[in-house]
């Protein structure tokens, strides 16, 4: 019998929700990580370990790890530094990714660290130095609110040397040689502001890659939804039909390259679901049309926000979608997004939701 595990990163620690294959009944445990703000918690299937990127105002940044689904935890920041003499410092680890026996940590000021010993020690992999845009992004004065630095990774399950990294407020970059060299991958994106470089200056909120077809990618951008049919080399906008061009969270269907979910939010200061009515929007035709999915979601006074790591999808034949809100609710659909239920209600503000199937 498979176990379905949700890792929920919140402003006050990491929580774990567990269910079976049916995903109808959930038990919650936590908080873990001693209540530190957790920006991104993930499950590494290779090692069976939960990793949680946390940053304490008092004690700095660290990555917690649990080899037993939350029962015991250790933390480390050994090597997670630009050095005593470096002009830039790490304010937080914003995002994590695990594959091919390696962990990646995206940090602010922008840089990528890796661990090859299960999170015990870390070393600097790349700062993307020399890339267009890099001349400004180390200066905190030039960084967008949130100060995420590297805000998102997209991995290639077939090739550990191939992955994408998003620099918040700058754009997406691709490496095919394990972060030795990078190429901006933002061609065709929209930007409603002046930019210094043709290739960068785009606000990529969330980049995802279809598990069914690696050439198909989607992104929720600050301005619009976008699709790529050539592995990120070019993008076209697919916003039409959505109630807002703005949002953070996004998820690609695990079995259908044309199905993709987003959570549109009001732009501006609000950044919550429009009209106080909670909804996830799906396209099942690669963005030609969009359908609102709200069955089971609150439709009155529900001013919910969802951040960029706040939505996840599992890989069952009938996949389940999950999202966590800035007001501490976790909603789940165990029927491919048709119906939703609230599976946690009173958590601290949620930064991230990641799902794993554990045999």
């Amino acid at each position: 019998m498979s176990r379905t595990i949700l890792m929920v990163g919140t402003r006050k620690g990491c929580f774990v929700l567990e269910s079976d294959e049916g995903r109808a009944n959930w038990q919650m445990r936590g908080p873990y990580c001693d209540g530190w703000p957790v920006y991104h918690a993930i499950y590494d299937a290779d090692s069976g370990t939960i990793f949680a990127a946390a940053a304490s105002e008092w004690h700095g940044s660290a990555i917690f790890r649990s080899p037993d689904l939350g029962e015991t935890w250790e933390h480390s920041s050994e090597g997670l530094t630009y050095g005593d003499d470096a002009p830039k410092k790490i304010s937080k680890v914003s995002t994590l990714a695990a594959s091919h026996g390696r962990l990646l940590a995206g940090v602010e000021a922008p840089g990528i660290f890796e661990s090859r010993d299960g999170g015990q020690t870390w070393s600097l992999l790349s700062t993307l130095s020399g890339q267009p845009g890099s001349e400004v992004w180390d200066d905190p004065q030039n960084q967008p609110p949130g100060h995420l630095g590297i805000s998102n990774f997209v991995l290639d399950p077939d090739n550990g040397d191939h992955f994408f990294a998003v620099v918040q407020g700058i754009g997406a970059y691709e490496t095919t040689d394990g972060a030795e060299t990078w190429t901006p991958r933002n061609r065709g994106l929209r930007a409603d502001w002046p930019r210094e470089h043709e290739e960068v200056g785009f606000c990529v909120h969330k980049l995802v890659r279809s598990r069914a077809d690696g050439t198909r990618m989607y992104q929720q951008n600050h301005v619009g939804m976008h699709r790529s049919d050539d592995g990120g080399q070019s993008w076209s906008e697919i916003t039409e039909g959505l109630p807002s061009e703005f949002g953070f969270a996004a998820a690609a269907h695990p079995h259908d390259r044309d199905t993709f979910a987003v959570i549109p939010l009001d732009p501006g200061h609000g950044r919550v679901m429009p009209d106080g009515k909670a909804a996830v929007w799906f396209t099942r035709d690669a963005g030609s049309s969009w359908q609102r999915s709200a069955s089971g979601l609150p439709q009155d006074g529900a001013h919910l926000g969802v951040l960029r790591q706040g939505m996840s999808v599992d890989t069952y034949d009938t996949p389940g979608f999950y999202f966590g809100t800035s007001t501490g609710q976790v909603f789940a659909s165990n029927d491919d997004g048709a119906n939703w239920s609230e599976i946690a209600s009173y958590l601290p503000a949620i930064s991230s939701v990641d799902v794993a199937i554990v045999e």
């Binding site: 001693d34 105002e57 008092w58 004690h59 933390h75 050994e78 997670l80 630009y82 005593d84 410092k89």
Partner: protein, 87 residues
């Protein structure tokens, strides 16, 4: 030997770490390095790159705000405080 008092936020992170520990060291930074020998990783929790004391960690030696190079006389009391940090 200095009488070092640590903030409660550190205990959950390091097995066996007491709130109060005797440390034989000539300066604040040396005392932190002694703690690091026994509880690996604690230095990172108190010091930022530089090294410098983390922004919201305050260190006092005999009730006076201290720096990393502040000397520790025999019997000095060292208070490591997790300073007010809201939310």
């Amino acid at each position: 030997m200095a009488d070092v008092h640590l903030p409660m936020t550190l205990q959950p992170l390091f097995a066996g770490l007491p709130r109060r520990v005797d440390v034989d060291a000539p300066t604040v930074i040396a005392a932190i390095d002694r703690l690091e020998e026994q509880w690996p990783g604690i230095r990172d929790r108190l010091l930022d790159a530089g090294p410098e004391i983390r922004r919201h960690i305050h260190v006092y030696v005999d009730k006076e705000r201290a720096a990393l190079d502040t000397p520790l006389a025999p019997g000095a009391r060292v208070d490591v405080i997790a300073a007010i940090s809201g939310g």
